[in-house]
Amino acid sequence: MSGTGLLFAVTEPAGARATDHGAGPTTADDAALYLELDGWEGPLDLLLDLARRQKVDLRAISILSLVDQYLDYIEQAEALKLELAADYLVMAAWLAYLKSALLLPAEEQEEPGPEELALRLQLRLARLGAMREAAARLLARDRTGRDVFLRGAPEGLRTDRKVKWQCDWFALIQAYGQVKARTAPAVHMVRDRPVMTLESALERVAAMLGVSRDWMRLEDLLPPVAEPGWERPRLRRSALASSFVAALELARTGRAELRQNGAFQPMLLRRTAS
């Protein structure tokens, strides 16, 4: 882009113009001011460059003449039918407003006043200028690969991680035991658990029902806890299950009635009337 020759001269905006409104010093060398459109990093950058051309400390620039220079630049660009990015035009409009405000009598000003706006613009330019200089000084330092060099062929440091595996004798033997136990041809030895068989439950429930015709809780038909051996929870559970099945069997064959007053209520049973 920079090679496309978008170079043009900004003609000196006739010192008269500046004196018309009695603002700041005119700049003498603007006649030779060549501007390259692609060279600006936005309107603030262009303003900064114009300000620099006033060849004074940034704190002492004349904002009014800076505004004029900027507006002239934009005019020139438009006259040459160069396409200007919108933000350049926005800045031009803002600067035109600033200029008119600066020229108006003070009492008609709105907040923020033009002096404040001018000062803020000046502060912004000073900050951008500082960074532009800092960047230049940074790039001028002794840069690695350009001015100073690192070792051309460093041997390099390498840390090889080596894992030292740990396993003890017991863990080994135990692991083998578990493999064998897990996969040994499974001969399932069901342990002989004390249970109440269905036959004995049937016998017991039928016998106990024979005593009366009152409703009885199924649990009350189990062997009493006091009886040796029957306190064991597993055996009691087996007795309950077998007795329940026995009760169902008795009901099926018409020898007993079953009743339950609600879900999870006690199971009641009694001998049939016949």
Partner: protein, 202 residues
């Protein structure tokens, strides 16, 4: 001419060899870890010895951030520069963004843009991150939680800075208030009363 150098002690020799062989700058902690957890104070002493020892030679031991490396003496640049591959050329925008990050870090993209008065292309930050000179350094605790950027150890190494304090002119810029936001600078200039007024309704 050059007599044999004074006998260096074992740890100094080890530090010297390790720094010479390393492909990147090493911190005292990294040196210590590499040298079998040698005492950090002793490593530091050895590094300082070497720094003094190499002063004025063709090769120098320099500190970059928390890390140390050997490099050629800057005044020999003219002898070594030829036939070297060019260092990365940075665009004007990238250079300015880099400077803004370095002098203001940590800084958000919006803050960079407010200083430059122009939008920053995403690619500009990417170029700097790819070069390894800036990195995302968290988020600013303000609405939107914008990412903030800071420079890296590699940035210091590339530009030959021992620390950010060595950034050219940073002290003057700071004392001139040129690293403060415009609003702060304006308030400072216009005095406390006026800034109270400015903060009022309207």
């Amino acid at each position: 001419m050059n007599p044999p150098a004074e006998e260096a002690d074992a740890l100094t020799r080890a530090v010297e060899a390790t720094l010479f062989a390393s492909e990147e700058p090493l911190t005292i902690a990294a040196l210590s870890a590499h040298l079998g957890d040698a005492d950090a104070a002793e490593i530091r002493a050895a590094v300082n010895d070497l720094e003094t020892f190499y002063a004025g030679r063709g090769v120098a031991l320099v500190r970059r951030g928390a890390a140390w490396h050997f490099q050629t003496a800057p005044d020999l640049a003219h002898l070594l520069r030829r036939e070297r591959e060019q260092v990365r050329r940075l665009s004007r925008a990238a250079t300015e963004v880099l400077a803004i990050v370095a002098y203001h870090e940590p800084v958000s993209r919006a803050e960079i843009e407010s200083i430059r008065g122009v939008q920053t292309a995403k690619g500009t930050l990417d170029v700097l991150m790819e070069a390894g000179w800036i990195r995302a350094a968290g988020r600013r605790d303000v609405p939107g939680r914008p990412v903030i950027y800071a420079t890296t150890q590699e940035f210091l190494a590339h530009f030959g800075l021992a620390s950010r304090r060595d950034l050219p002119g940073i002290d003057e810029l700071r004392s001139a208030g040129l690293l403060d936001p415009v609003d702060d600078a304006y308030d400072a200039l216009s005095g406390p009363n006026e800034s109270d007024g400015a903060a009022g309704p309207d």
